[in-house]
């Protein structure tokens, strides 16, 4: 596992399985964090990149439901869609995720909310794809500029 994150958000890239895992704590109970993921009027306020407008075409966040949304930027539209495979209030959301630019590609995503007590929640979001190439394209997409020294990650890797 390659772990990154001196701040709050942690990213784990597994060398053996094509997955990326993100973990973060929130100062809100699981019910609230869950609602912010399932209510489309709340989702549009945070999910899309800041430079894009997010438009929801379809949103039925229940087990067996589906979704489609579009990120629009400078006249370009990027569509995303998938199905909600399992939705359990304040606990878990399992869904598929396809970027319509690569229609045959699909990620299986699992969002788990853990109640830490005192109105805090740990969110763990895992994205699993079907090849390392797809995973690495996933990690390196939408990246530009900037260089950062990060040899502590090398230390962690070597400590394994």
């Amino acid at each position: 596992m390659t772990t990154s994150g001196t701040h709050d958000t942690q990213v784990i890239v597994d060398p053996r399985v094509p997955l990326v895992r993100i973990s973060r704590q929130f100062d809100a109970p699981p019910e609230k964090v869950f609602r912010a993921h399932t209510d489309p009027t709340l989702v549009v306020q945070w999910l899309g990149p800041r430079r894009h407008d997010m438009r929801v075409d379809q949103w039925d966040c229940r087990t067996g439901g589906s979704y489609r949304y579009v990120h629009a930027s400078d006249g370009n539209e990027y569509g995303f869609h998938g199905c909600f495979h399992e939705v359990r209030p304040a606990e878990v959301i399992v869904q598929t995720f396809t970027f319509e630019g690569v229609p045959d590609g699909v990620a299986l995503e699992r969002l788990v909310l853990e109640d830490l007590g005192n109105g805090r929640t740990r969110l763990t979001a895992t994205s699993l794809v079907d090849s390392f190439e797809a995973r690495d394209a996933f990690v390196s997409s939408g990246m530009e500029g900037g260089v950062r020294e990060g040899y502590e990650r090398l230390d962690e890797l070597l400590a394994r």
Binding site: F34, R50, A90, V139, R153
Partner: protein, 115 residues
């Protein structure tokens, strides 16, 4: 820096023997024979592992020296950590927006309101 260089780094490190070799090279340079010693494999097999690490830019072999010691290339790891750090930062930005949304929500929110 293309995504396929990153793929090479990840797949080079997917193998436990290669990860172990990297860990030993972090301590000191070593020759192929020295690297092969602790494993129950041939020097040829170790050379193949080294080739994968070399193609990924994680190690280099000095051409001029007769012993041709293998050297760990920190820059190869830097590429990987840079991509991951960028990805992490995007996620952190997204979740800071979620923090803001959570602050605006009422406290007694129902996780799953009946439609």
């Amino acid at each position: 820096m293309a995504a396929d260089s990153l793929s090479r780094v990840f797949s080079a490190l997917a193998d436990p023997t290669r990860r172990d070799m990297v860990a030993r090279l972090a301590v000191a340079d070593a020759t192929v024979n020295e690297l092969a010693e602790p494993y129950d494999v041939t020097v040829q097999a170790v050379s193949k592992h080294l080739k994968v690490l070399e193609d990924a830019g994680l190690v280099s072999r000095r051409r001029d020296a007769r012993r041709r010691p293998v050297h760990l290339e920190a820059e190869g790891f830097d590429l990987m950590t840079r991509w991951i750090e960028r990805y992490r930062r995007e996620a952190e930005e997204r979740y800071r927006r979620l923090d803001d949304v959570l602050r605006t929500m009422p406290d007694d929110v129902d996780a799953a309101p009946t439609p």
